[in-house]
Symmetry: C2
Subunit: 309 residues, 2 copies
């Protein structure tokens, strides 16, 4: 079992009503890898600049993440994002984005990364996603994320990339935008008709829904009284989801996809409890399993029908 993720490795400066941090380790591949590291061997593929130091590598390696395919680009800076969140943490404002070395990202996969059993194409230009996909021919499960930018500017490429993966993991608004279909069930079906056998609609604080051709499943966001920084929640979800699937020996059937939704939900919830990677970096598998059990208990009810009135 092994998991490769291709995406951004970044520094984030974030301000929320509950605090602020300058230049924290962040980026989609980072949040994803840390979350997935509790389940499997994970290899992030992405570029960093001269500003990326031993401290950042240590955070990743401290969780057993294999950093061999993190490309150090001389003479440039790492991707940088500055944002702030309102008191309603669902509302984010980007204040600065500097692509740095990520602007010329040309993914280079080692033999080990190409041999991945599970592949996650995080939100990058769809032609790059396709190129990586074609290099990982042995993957038994491949998932993709994207964003409104690529729907607006590279829709045909994105549709081609989607046709080549098993699963799409995107925000529900993006599924609607991509398909031009406001009904989420119809939109998910339209995506599946182009190839994927599963669609995961991320719904922020409301949780996430899983569509497959014959079934529907949904989990609420894990209820937390203290959310400090939502940055990376979706990537942590994807990391828990795909990390679990890669660790699963059996068939990737409906039951395992649902359990993966549970682990995704749990990892996303830990991620938002503190800033950046702070909480997940010192998380334990025991804490994950404990919260998974709590989430399970929160979603059960008796099917016994009531006596008709």
């Amino acid at each position: 079992m092994s998991l490769t993720v291709v995406g951004s490795i970044a520094f984030d400066s974030v301000r929320t009503p509950f605090g602020e941090r300058e230049r924290m380790l962040g980026g989609t591949a980072v949040h994803f890898s840390l979350a997935a590291s509790f389940f499997t061997e994970v290899r992030p593929v992405g570029p960093v600049g001269d500003d990326f130091t031993a401290a950042e590598f240590e955070t990743l390696e401290g969780r057993g993440v294999i950093v061999d395919d993190i490309e150090r680009v001389k003479g440039g800076n790492s991707f940088f994002w500055r944002g702030r969140y309102e008191y309603d943490l669902n509302i984010a404002h980007t204040e600065d984005t500097q692509l740095g070395v990520f602007g010329d990202f040309d993914p280079k996969l080692s033999q080990e990364s190409k041999a991945a059993d599970v592949l996650f194409l995080a939100n990058i230009q769809p032609d790059l996603q396709r190129r990586v996909r074609s290099q990982c021919g042995d993957a038994r499960f491949c998932a993709l994320d994207s964003m409104n930018l690529w729907i607006d500017t590279a829709k045909d490429s994105l549709l081609a990339a989607i046709a080549e993966v098993d699963c799409v993991i995107v925000n529900d608004a993006e599924i609607r935008q991509l398909t031009g279909e406001s009904n989420l069930a119809r939109a998910a079906r339209a995506v599946m008709e182009s190839g994927p056998r599963a669609v995961v609609a991320k719904q922020g604080e409301y949780g996430a829904a899983l569509f497959t051709p014959d079934s529907f499943f949904a989990l609420p966001g894990f209820p937390l009284e203290d959310v400090r920084d939502p940055t990376g929640a979706g990537d942590s979800f994807a990391g828990g989801f795909l990390g679990y699937l890669d660790s699963h020996d059996g068939e990737l059937d409906e039951a395992s996809l649902r359990r993966a939704m549970g682990y995704g939900t749990v990892l996303a919830s830990f991620n938002v409890e503190e800033f950046g990677t702070e909480r997940v970096a010192r998380l334990s598998r025991e804490e994950i399993d404990e919260r998974f059990a709590t989430l399970h208990a929160m979603t059960q009810f008796e099917a016994l029908p009531a006596t008709a009135g």
Copy 2:
């Protein structure tokens, strides 16, 4: 077992991208009563004008709703609402509201209505809710809905009304506005600290969440590819929720509240499939139980922990 609901009885003119209807039977007490009628004996209390005809009474009586406490006010018109929904059905626009006889509503409860085992104070002026509450001293479970208008204009009265009920059933945005707390778990706790032992946060297409002092539970909205008219979904939810609770012989504990959430979700989903009361008026208990079982299957996953990676 018997259930009393106090609220509006109305005519609705509704336009959605999927059709339009003029002057359909509507209003909170109507949608609530029809949904609850599958579980128990329900008495709506509310005023209608000269425009309310035998046809409207027949729709209610056809479902066994007891119409004795529907007050016919001479020389006036019934509450009227005209609205349209965008292609994204989450976005509604009110085009006309005529309170009619509802503007001077002074609830008059018969002995039978006062003897209710379960009481629902639908969205009316909070002082009226309190007056009705005080007349139904035997109710073993009392729930309340409200809206932003009363939070803005009669907050102290509303807080007093909330302190006197067992359960608050409102939209999540209203819980946030009421408490000034953007975190929903904190906001729900704040409401419970004032008296109620349960808070149901309605979340539109995302479903609904149940907060109790020691527990959290949530259900997604039932996924539908064809939603034609969302009007009355929240009231249908409350009708299924409280109708089931009234029909339940045992203690109204966490397990029964969760099952009630299931029935609320199911009734709301049928309501939105067609315009106004069209779908629920010809619904059967068998269809309800079948969808309840489907919803149950949609929310289950195995708790078995994965092998650690």
